[in-house]
Amino acid sequence: MLFNSVPFIFLFLPIVFIGYFVIIKSAPSKKASIIWLVISSLFFYAFWNPMYIFLILSSIFVNYNIAKIFHANIDGKYKKIGVIAGVIFNVALLGYFKYVDFFIKNINGIFETDFALLYIMLPLAISFFTFQQIAFLVDNYRGEYEKNTFSSYALFVSFFPQLIAGPIVHHREMMPQFEDENNKNININNISKGLFIFIIGLTKKVGIADTVAIWANTGFQNYESLSTIDAWITSFSYTLQLYFDFSGYCDMAIGIALLFNIKLPINFLSPYKARNIQDFWKRWHITLSRFLTSYIYIPLGGNRKGEIRTYINIFIVFLISGFWHGAGWTFVLWGIFHGIASMAVRLWGIIGFKLPYWFSWIITFMFVNITWVYFRATSIEQANTIISKMFQFNYNYNYPLSSFFQKPLKIFEAAGQYDFILFKLDNPKIIVFTIITLLIITFITKNSIQLLDRFRTNIKTLLFSQVLLIGLVIIIFFIHKNSEFLYFNF
């Protein structure tokens, strides 16, 4: 059940929302509302695959009980064993479900063995709840803990707005909010803000990301036949898709949580405005960077153990980040590229190398745009082909460049089935105009977090939300297709 699905918006969310406040008003126990949210979140999780509910429950149960050991008055040695066992448990769980087939494939490839693949379906959210719980365990081991109950811990792990795609929340910022009695009243202001940012997120996800995805998918599918222009359209489309998809989802998560008076951390802050890769990672998936810094980079020694170790630590963090994003060499390579770029930025900073603002911004954006090709590609060969086509001029059309905007783009022919009456999505004018407009939006306009900060209940915000909503409904109306089967001969 995705946030942008009809069952979620029209059934699940209203029921959970109404149920939550009814329980707060009527139930004698203060815990009842938290338990209601836990049950709702587990239902939300089980809706995807009921079997994996046992996985998340056992993970919650094991981690909570290991953390409880740290609270007991026991020898430090046993605490250390506890934290190591806990981290191994989490990493092993993630490793088994996410990476085991990747390792089997590589072992078979290297040693010419024939171990059977397990074809394990990746449990939803496992990458997110594993990291959250590792942080919880480590902080409890360090003694940086506060009193908590099992129900609020279970909610911290499973809270449905952030469960499946982040942000990677920290127990210290979430559990006190669940317990805070001031958060248990209907807050009209938060509801207005929540709806406002939810609509922005929904528009980003459904209206924009899913539309540019049509070009990105078609381009990646036909990667061998791309011209230079097609290759750039493909890479920009994916760069935009990823941004609007992920940030849109995070906006929706923030909006949904606000309905329950819960504030989720900021995860995106105009990443394509970044002027170097370090800056980019302070703006893109901020909570992941926060986790990797606090629980990997700093424990490895951070920048405290000399320059070379600092570079090695940076590299390790990005290598892990790449591997965390997906079990494949394309992700590893993407992480390595970002690691090298981050090391370069540090080196340039130390030797005092400074580029003009606009130039460093262009280089950063182009670097991000090109490396996303590895992130999306199904093989390194596919990524290399697309990137090489981006830089080897090949027009590949049987009409002159001056007629480029006059005919539908052949490579994006499949997009032509999306008919918006006045135009179809294989129209080069529409493709180029949309990409440029969206890039400008990501480069210069205020982001959704800034819009939320400035949100006031006035006619301007009301109009803005309505325009988004109407635009969104129109796009859904035209994008929704029924497949056709017109082959009559047999």
Binding site: V6, P7, I188, N189, I191, S192, L195, D419, I421, T457, N458, I459, T461, L462, S465, Q466, L469, I470, V473, I476, F477, F478, H480, K481, N482, S483, E484, F485, L486, Y487, F488, N489, F490
Partner: protein, 348 residues
């Protein structure tokens, strides 16, 4: 403006500008129902365009009260067979371009949805499916099953420009005096055609010309054919499977079998079928249907009238031996010999 007022205005404007227009579209598409998700009938949906029978018939099965004694499965040819002409209650799951590789999936789906085990499964057998070029279509049957069973699909599919266009097409079809297209359906899964078949003779001439240019030494046999028939036999062993071969216009069959490789393949095909099924009901001999071009819409598709004659023959082969032959392991050689010699006489 305070937050409460903002929220009330937001809800009100959303109702006026979003919910009401959306409801109009939803209501309109619901009334015409081009995707067959509901079962209401009215004067604007008496005729329905068949833009994708896989989705439409699967929706029909998923959402309606599906309770049939037997099932009919096959290609677009079988879509013209009127299911109500059978003496028992039969559902026609004939699908345009259905490959034999799809049969087990669609039969299984219909069986899962049915309240009882099918007594009989009438299964069309085509010579083309015995060719190695037989493929699954781009969309696997699971695609349609999943879509049809997705939560709220019946309602979400109504909010679409594409569905709206199909509704308008259906209103046009239903309110026009005469249907002139290839195929459209009544609300009860009965196909009609507006084609008059006056081009059939030309099409057959063209086909005969094409066949003359074919110089294949060996017929490319579908290597999966044996496995797929085994699967069907094993999987649906509780039902009686009635395999029947599609009628082919005499001139077409004669032209086809003049190619030695095809003749060889044709023989193999019959022998493969009788290896798996005790009886194969053939409509391919020279008969009133295969000889008379009035029973043809084009060189591949017979008319609904011929479909009704086929039903009667399947239900009573002895009484209709002029159009049907029951082919078994024992008589297959004789049947082929007779067919070939009759066709040769026909050519001469």
């Amino acid at each position: 403006m305070n937050a409460k007022k903002w929220l009330i205005l937001f809800i009100l404007s959303s109702i006026i500008f979003v919910a009401v227009p959306s409801a109009v579209v939803l209501g309109f598409n619901y009334y015409v129902d081009p995707l067959w998700n509901f079962d209401h009938k009215n004067k604007y949906n008496t005729l329905q365009a068949s833009f994708n029978e896989r989705q439409q018939k699967t929706n029909d099965i998923s959402n309606g009260k599906f309770n049939y004694q037997s099932l009919l499965i096959g290609t677009s040819r079988t879509t013209y067979i009127n299911q109500y002409e059978f003496q028992e209650k039969v559902y026609n799951y004939g699908l345009s371009g259905q490959s034999i590789l799809e049969y087990p999936y669609y039969i299984s789906y219909a069986q899962e949805r049915n309240n009882q085990i099918f007594n009989k499964i009438y299964m069309e057998m085509t010579f083309s499916s015995f060719k190695s070029t037989t493929r699954m279509p781009m969309e696997h049957p699971d695609f349609y099953f999943e879509k049809s069973n997705a939560l709220f699909y019946r309602y979400t599919s109504l909010f679409s420009y594409d569905t709206l266009q199909k509704s308008l097409d259906n209103i046009n079809l239903s309110t026009n005096d005469k249907f002139r297209g290839h195929r459209a359906y009544h609300r009860n899964n009965v196909a009609i055609t507006g084609r008059e078949g006056n081009q059939v003779a030309n099409e057959l001439d063209k086909y005969a010309e094409e066949m003359k240019s074919i110089k294949k030494e060996k017929f490319p046999v579908n290597k999966k054919y044996n496995d797929i028939l085994l699967t069907i036999n094993n999987k649906f062993s509780d039902s009686e499977i009635i395999p029947f071969t599609d009628p082919i216009p005499v001139r077409k069959l004669a032209a086809m079998l003049e190619v030695e490789a095809y003749k060889e393949g044709y023989e193999k095909w019959y022998k493969e079928m009788v290896n798996h099924f005790p009886k194969v009901y053939s409509f391919q001999k020279i008969s009133p249907i295969t000889e008379n071009l009035e029973y043809w819409i084009d060189d591949s598709h017979f008319t609904p009238e011929a479909g009704t004659m086929m039903i009667k023959a399947l239900e009573d082969p002895k009484g209709n031996s002029n159009i049907i032959t029951v082919v078994t392991k024992e008589n297959v050689d004789m049947y082929l010999k007779n067919t070939f010699s009759e066709l040769e006489k026909q050519i001469k």
